[in-house]
């Protein structure tokens, strides 16, 4: 009990710092950057390679890049997933990467790769946030 109280008391100063918010936003903008800021460079590299790799395969397969404001609920959900890619999502819109619609099976796979890469980046950014505020053990 005393140990629990001590752990909580130790956590409070970390929660007040801006580091958790910084690593959360950094990890969302660039996959793995949140972990890199925390000094976990191996995890950062693996996350970056996995998420960017999935995104690039999706783009190469002519996966669909969802546009905001189309009104279709599935498009909105797809866009919310792809928004998890942070800067990569912005670059895809800016340079018109991918396709406006999935025209074959491979392109449909590509669309799923891009959306899942975004969702995985959400998980990675939240993991970096949990490491920074002490909610997850940093080993």
């Amino acid at each position: 009990m005393a140990a629990d109280t001590q752990q909580i008391a130790q956590r409070i100063p970390e929660e007040k710092s801006s580091l958790p918010a910084v690593v959360l936003v950094a990890g969302w903008l660039i996959p793995g950057l949140g972990h890199l800021i925390l000094g976990k460079w191996v995890r950062a590299l693996l996350l970056f390679l996995s998420i960017v790799g999935m995104f690039l395969i999706g783009i190469a397969a002519q996966g669909k890049i969802y546009q905001p404001g189309s009104g279709d609920i599935l498009d909105i959900l797809g866009f919310a997933g792809q928004l998890g890619l942070g800067l990569l999502c912005g670059l895809a819109h800016w340079f018109s990467w991918g396709a406006n619609s999935a025209v074959n099976t491979l392109a449909d796979y590509g669309t799923k790769f891009i959306v899942c890469a975004g969702l995985l980046n959400y998980i990675a950014a939240v993991d970096a946030h949990s490491l920074a505020n002490g909610r997850k053990a940093s080993l």
Partner: protein
Amino acid sequence: MTLSHFSAVLLFSLFTSVVFGITQRAQPKMMIRFGAYCFVLFVGAVVIASWVMYAIKH
């Protein structure tokens, strides 16, 4: 770009398992173990589902 169904499964499973392993476990050894477990489950589920679909069709 040409990607077969099975190679797409392998790549998806690999990348997803790496992220799951890193984010869902705290110790490096457990990360590797959980990542490998996820990879086997992903690929195994696909192989089983493929055989089920084959059995239904034939």
